[in-house]
């Protein structure tokens, strides 16, 4: 694969890449992103899943969901718009099929949960208590492809904190709880502060931005769901800005950074802005081995800049 990263020269000291999600230690700071790697299985031919930080699962809900009708996708400049609508097997399917598959192989799972009411989220957290291989929970309070788009929890600091406190209360104390935030807000620091006060152990930033594409031939929206979530390198500067602002305001809060990470130098920017781990999402669609490649490129980039550990680089751009 072609790479723009500095080459990791033989003889250079290997960088200690270990990091943590809350209290849960992981050997690599590079994870999959929710909704971009299903439940991990499909990547097995391309990536050593046990070596990556964790598989962040597609968001699971209480019941199986069909998702939205097609078309669900539109390519955009350096990005894509999706309107999947959280298709998934529901918590029963996750516990019966997906999590055992990951656990048998020693793959760490960071389970993304979603719902329409705070008590749905709490019930999901309860069901996941002590589940083998579950490293922690990512609380998806920011999916733009839900029925009531005006009611995305992460757009309202009070609603967001209600969900997060319900989850933190119900969840296994050993499982860190990360709240996934939306960039589609006026003041992301305010939402971040609110969910941290409600007990979030960390923050995942960012979810997709709400977007629209119109087909000039049909003169109608391309997506069956009309609007969709924008992802890919096109949103990277927005994501980076969010990580920067929140780390500046809440430097002690761990951040799982994501949004358009395609290469090691992209991941490095998120680390320098304050992320202690990163998720690689849409890039997996174009390169199924992207998660492992970004890890290697990030390690090389850190070594080339004289960092002995990943943790030394977290927030380094704020000096």
């Amino acid at each position: 694969m072609a790479t723009t990263s500095p080459i990791w020269l033989p003889g250079e000291t290997p960088v200690d890449m270990t990091t943590a999600l809350g209290k849960a230690e992981i050997p690599s700071p590079v994870l999959t992103a929710s909704g971009c790697s299903a439940f991990g299985r499909e990547l097995e031919p391309f990536v050593d899943l046990t070596a990556i930080g964790a598989v962040v699962t597609k968001s699971v809900q209480l019941r199986p969901r069909s998702g939205r009708p097609t078309p669900r996708m539109a390519e955009t400049p350096s990005g894509m718009l999706n309107s999947i609508g959280l298709q998934g097997p529901g918590i029963d399917g996750l516990l019966a099929d997906e999590l055992p598959w990951l656990a048998e192989r020693g793959v760490r799972a960071f389970v993304s949960i979603a719902g329409t009411r705070a008590r749905d989220f709490a019930e999901l957290a309860t069901r996941l208590r002590g589940a083998p291989g579950v490293l922690g929970l990512e609380v998806n309070i920011s999916c733009p492809n839900v029925e009531s788009r005006g009611e995305v929890f992460a757009c309202d600091p009070v609603a967001a904190s209600d969900v997060v406190s319900a989850v933190r209360e119900a969840a296994d104390p050993a499982q860190p709880v990360y709240a996934k935030l939306s960039p589609d807000v006026t003041d992301i620091v305010r939402v971040a502060r609110s969910v941290v006060d409600a007990g979030a152990d960390g923050l995942s930033m960012i979810n997709t931005l709400l977007g629209l594409v119109i087909d000039p031939d049909t003169m109608r929206p391309v997506l069956g769901g009309v609007t969709g979530g924008l992802s890919g390198p096109a949103i990277r500067p927005v994501a980076l800005r969010c990580v920067w602002q929140v780390h500046a305001a809440l430097p002690q809060v761990p951040i799982l950074g994501m949004g358009g990470i395609r290469r090691g130098l992209d991941a490095l920017q998120f680390v320098l802005a304050g992320a202690s781990a990163v998720s690689v999402g849409t890039a997996v669609f174009s390169d199924p081995s992207a998660v492992a490649r970004v890890h290697d490129e990030l390690a090389g980039a850190l070594a080339a800049r004289g960092f002995a550990t990943l943790c030394d680089a977290v927030g380094y751009a704020h000096r």
């Binding site: 969901r65 009708p69 996708m73 350096s78 529901g90 669609f285 174009s286 390169d287």
Partner: protein, 311 residues
């Protein structure tokens, strides 16, 4: 997906026959997992409106089975086009993989512009192959446009197993016909239709399909969705099992993005949004609910959680 939508009306059988006993089983998964490789283009040959690319890809070629596809990264390492382009495998032999590219957007046009010596990142083989019938079963193969390329490897495999193979190939016009010579070598005779009459009979493939169907023990089809629907409906109405390879738009090709779903009846008789890449691209023709593509019906598993319930 290239559409000639509107050319095919619903067949006399109406829906895809998902209410009765089904004639097909879901296609089984491929025997071997895919690989990702950067490979060299060894030949690029214009064929009518298309370009036939041959790639030195031994690891893909040795794993490939008829009906499977490959997914290309397009635009080079700094490309602003993030999504893979999935194309059916037209041939896999002697360490080489052949595909037929139909340039219609920026990504496929970039692919069609590749020259011998160029490198391209490819993932494959992907998807489920065509299930094979009992040896000797006479087979009707129906290709629309460049979709006919996906049937060449299948025709060879069927001939090896003693099947009589009857290919029907159709397109909008003569320059959009594909793989006619390759299929002719394997089958002896190829029935050709074009919408404008510029080659073969004027009309749709269904005209020839209706004539050949009485002698067929199984039908295979690859092409635009309206054609697949019409062919599957004809086969099902005649009590002949059919397998269709769909050309749904895919973002990843490997089963992680969930964009390429179709309403498909599973082995338990329930309809789910099934991924065309990993649960297809080959589906039982009577299992795809063509009339419901782009819709969410209340009987799809999980529709209730979307707020869609039967009235």
């Amino acid at each position: 997906m290239r559409g000639r939508s509107g050319h095919f009306g619903p067949s006399p059988s109406g829906q895809s026959g998902h209410n009765g006993r089904l004639l097909t089983e879901p296609a089984p998964v491929a025997a071997r997992p895919p690989v990702q490789r950067v490979v060299e283009v060894v030949a690029a040959r214009p064929v009518g409106a298309y370009v036939e690319l041959t790639l030195a890809a031994p690891d893909v070629a040795e794993r490939a089975e008829p009906g499977q596809f490959v997914a290309f990264a397009v635009g080079g390492p700094t490309s602003a086009m993030l999504l893979r382009r999935s194309i059916a495998i037209a041939g896999a032999a002697n360490g080489a993989v052949t595909v037929v590219v139909a340039p219609h957007g920026p990504g496929s046009t970039w692919l069609a512009g590749l020259r011998p010596g160029d490198a391209v990142d490819v993932v494959g083989p992907l998807g489920r192959p065509f299930p094979l019938p009992a040896p000797g079963t006479p087979a009707l193969l129906v290709g629309g446009g460049y979709g006919a390329a996906a049937l060449v490897g299948l025709a060879a495999r069927l001939r090896e197993r003693g099947s009589r193979v009857v290919p029907v190939v159709g397109a909008a016009s003569a320059d959009r016909l594909c793989s006619v010579d390759d299929l002719g070598v394997l089958a002896g005779i190829v029935w050709i239709t074009t919408d404008d009459g510029s080659e073969g009979r004027q009309g749709l493939v269904t005209v020839a399909v209706e004539e050949q169907l009485p002698d067929a023990g199984v039908v295979y089809a690859c092409g635009p969705m309206p054609m697949l629907r019409a062919v599957a409906d004809l086969a099902t109405a005649a009590g002949v099992p059919s397998y269709v390879a769909v050309e749904e738009a895919m973002a990843c090709g490997i089963g992680v993005c969930m964009t390429c779903v179709l309403p498909v009846v599973g082995s338990d008789g329930r309809t789910r949004f099934a991924r065309s890449c990993t649960e297809g691209p080959v589906f039982g023709g009577d299992r795809v609910r063509f009339a419901d593509v782009g819709r969410l019906r209340p009987d799809v598993v999980g529709a209730d959680a979307m707020g869609v319930v039967a009235p």
